[in-house]
């Protein structure tokens, strides 16, 4: 479960203080999905980064699977991230010097999954995302949609209990976007994981359990329906 309690985060932009998040709270149970929507600059990515431990909120509290992640040491946070978190970035963020197979294998190796099992899992994932023939390709040789699918496969390879996706369909056509989101939701339900996804995409919004609307760092609307 993810429990976010009144977190605040401000950035300094020149002489101006920008409130990226202002007393934002939300809760996502295991097996549930939450779409965070809002205009560019509304604080969606900052919220996701705070939940994933990529940055620290100025105030408030974030508990993931019962751990207050911002009270963890650097090493403990890293160990938590590698075991329990999966991140899908907006532009894939694949490691450019590793092949598709090696990118997906990376979190498995970090979690000391035996080599044979790693190979089996990677092959199965590649089949599942329809890129079984691209195992030896480098990220630079792939299209945007393929990169995004591999980024997703890498995020779920180690079967994390929390999946965070930052505008995963932003660079995809509607069909690919729909397939990828459907795949994400299937995995989340199969693994009883929690998914928080930031998006502008109505396809994504329709398929999640609940929606949170951010504006200027504040929650302006929350809903458990598929319509805002």
């Amino acid at each position: 479960m993810i429990r976010v309690q009144e977190i605040g985060k401000a950035y300094r932009s020149g002489r101006r203080q920008v409130e990226a998040l202002d007393e934002v709270s939300c809760t996502v149970q295991q097996g549930e999905t939450l779409a965070v929507v809002g205009k560019s600059g509304s604080g969606k990515t900052t919220l996701l980064n705070c939940i994933g431990g990529l940055e620290r909120p100025d105030s408030g509290r974030i508990a993931c699977l019962g751990e207050n992640i911002h009270e963890l040491s650097r090493r403990a946070l890293s160990m938590f991230q590698r075991e329990h978190l999966g991140f899908v970035f907006q532009f894939g963020n694949l490691l450019s010097y590793l092949t598709v197979h090696e990118n997906i294998e990376f979190p498995l190796a970090l979690n000391r999954v035996p080599r044979r099992e790693r190979d089996l899992r990677v092959s199965a994932l590649l089949e599942r995302i329809g890129l079984g023939n691209s195992a030896r390709a480098l990220p630079g040789e792939l299209s945007g949609g393929e990169v995004q699918r591999i980024s997703f496969a890498r995020a779920i390879a180690h079967r994390p209990q929390i999946l965070l996706a930052d505008e995963p369909t932003a660079s995809l056509d509607s069909q690919t976007a729909h397939d990828l989101v459907q795949l994400m939701l299937d995995v989340v339900r199969d693994q009883a994981a929690s998914l928080i996804v930031t998006t502008h995409d109505p396809v994504v919004i329709e398929l999640t359990d609940s929606i949170m609307h951010l504006r200027d760092g504040k929650v302006v609307e929350e809903s458990r329906t598929t319509v805002l």
């Binding site: 900052t46 980064n49 994933g52 431990g53 990529l54 940055e55 620290r56 650097r74 090493r75 890293s78 160990m79 938590f80 991230q81 590698r82 075991e83 978190l85 991140f87 970035f89 532009f91 963020n93 694949l94 490691l95 450019s96 010097y97 590793l98 090696e102 990376f106 979190p107 190796a109 970090l110 000391r112 480098l138």
Partner: protein, 390 residues
């Protein structure tokens, strides 16, 4: 941390270097060339010092000079381990006379074959030739020949003192070394021409390459009577010793400056190399790679590239030094008036353990030191900030 995990990070580091081909090749070439140039320069500097010593000791004195040696002590007994050759000399102090002209001289009686085989004085003969064994012939300096007003083929007398009976010699050659000590008061003749040739003798002792001269002197002093005296070229030629020490100091300063410049270059290149790939480190950090593992990954990347480049650099440095030492570098045009290059201006570069390990150690050390700051930047920086910098 077990070997499997190190193996994993080593594999990741290798893949990173392998697939960042252009950057890796350019940076490796820079390290490789720096290391090989430093090794070659270092061997050249050692070669210049060697040439000065070789020129100075081969002309006359040998690496070790023995004095006041008993008649029953044979040259064979002085040929201990590390000694290449021993030239026996009997010093006869007296006067050279021609008509009413007298010149004080130390007439050295020694076997011409031994002198020609082991010393280079014969190469400094400006006219005539070396005396022959068994004949009353003499080789003297241009200075003495001018002072006595004599030339090749003319005769002179040697006497130990004004009242003793003279021995007549025919001049077969004159020499000029450019070294006052040798050019003013010395002359050479074959043994057994002068009476009392079985008196105490002196020796020019030549060592094999790489033998420590002080060790040989110490062993002689331990082995032979206190009457016998042994002096290394360090004691015989303090000016040369000082010059070599001065060379080492100036070489060290130059080396330090060159190493410093190379080190700054290598460090800067590695900082740029790591910062250029900051994004990749941000990505692995977001996946839960610990600060220690990030440090390990960067150190392995820098270390691996340096080790491979240094192996190439050492190999290239050795090849360059060996090739040049087999040919020799002729600096005669710059040394012809220098008394420390009296015999030959050819420099033979020589590799020493110091010249082989210091350049790669400097490159590796500075590469790793250079990686500390960017590593701290990755470890201490917020992952979101690192990724935002994409």
């Amino acid at each position: 941390m077990n070997s499997g995990i190190i193996g994993f990070w080593l594999r990741i580091a290798s893949l990173f270097l392998l697939r960042s081909r252009r950057t890796t090749v350019v940076l490796s070439l820079m390290v490789l060339l720096s290391v090989s140039i430093l090794i070659f320069l270092s061997s050249l500097a050692v070669g210049i010092n060697d040439a000065m010593v070789r020129n100075s000791v081969s002309l006359y004195s040998g690496h070790v000079a023995g004095f006041n040696l008993a008649a029953d002590l044979t040259p064979e007994r002085l040929r201990i381990d590390g000694v290449d050759a021993v030239v026996k000399r009997i010093e006869n102090r007296g006067l050279l006379q021609h008509d009413d002209r007298f010149e004080p001289v130390t007439l050295i009686a020694s076997n011409p074959a031994d002198e020609i085989a082991n010393t280079a004085l014969w190469r400094k003969i400006s006219a005539g030739k070396y005396p022959q064994n068994g004949k009353a012939e003499i080789l003297l300096s241009e200075y003495l020949s001018e002072r006595l007003g004599l030339g090749i083929g003319e005769q002179l007398q040697f006497r130990r003192d004004p009242v003793s009976s003279p021995v007549t010699f025919r001049i077969t050659g004159v020499y000029r070394t450019g070294i006052d000590k040798l050019d003013r008061g010395l002359a050479f003749c074959p043994p057994a021409i002068l009476p009392d040739d079985n008196a105490r003798w002196s020796a020019a002792i030549f060592l094999r390459d790489g033998i420590e001269v002080e060790n040989i002197v110490r062993r002689y002093r331990e082995r032979f009577s206190t009457a016998a005296q042994f002096k290394s070229w360090h004691e015989l030629m303090p000016d040369l010793r000082q010059l070599i020490d001065l060379n080492y100091v100036s070489m060290s300063i130059v080396t330090f400056i060159v190493f410093g410049l190379v080190a700054v270059g290598v460090s800067s290149a590695f900082v740029i190399f790591i910062l250029k790939n900051l994004r990749e480190y941000g990505i692995v950090k977001s996946m839960g790679v610990t600060p220690f593992e990030i440090g390990l990954l960067i150190a392995l990347e820098v270390g691996l590239m340096n080790v491979i480049a240094c192996i190439g650099g050492v190999a290239l440095g050795i090849i360059a030094s060996q090739v040049m030492s087999s040919i020799g570098i002729d600096l005669t045009a710059f040394t012809s008036h220098n008394r420390y290059f009296a015999v030959s201006g050819v420099v033979i570069p020589r590799l020493t353990p110091y010249s082989l390990w210091v350049p790669p150690a400097v490159a590796l050390g500075f590469g790793l030191v250079a990686s500390i700051w960017p590593t701290m930047l990755v470890v201490r920086g917020r992952t979101a900030d690192i990724l935002r910098g994409i």
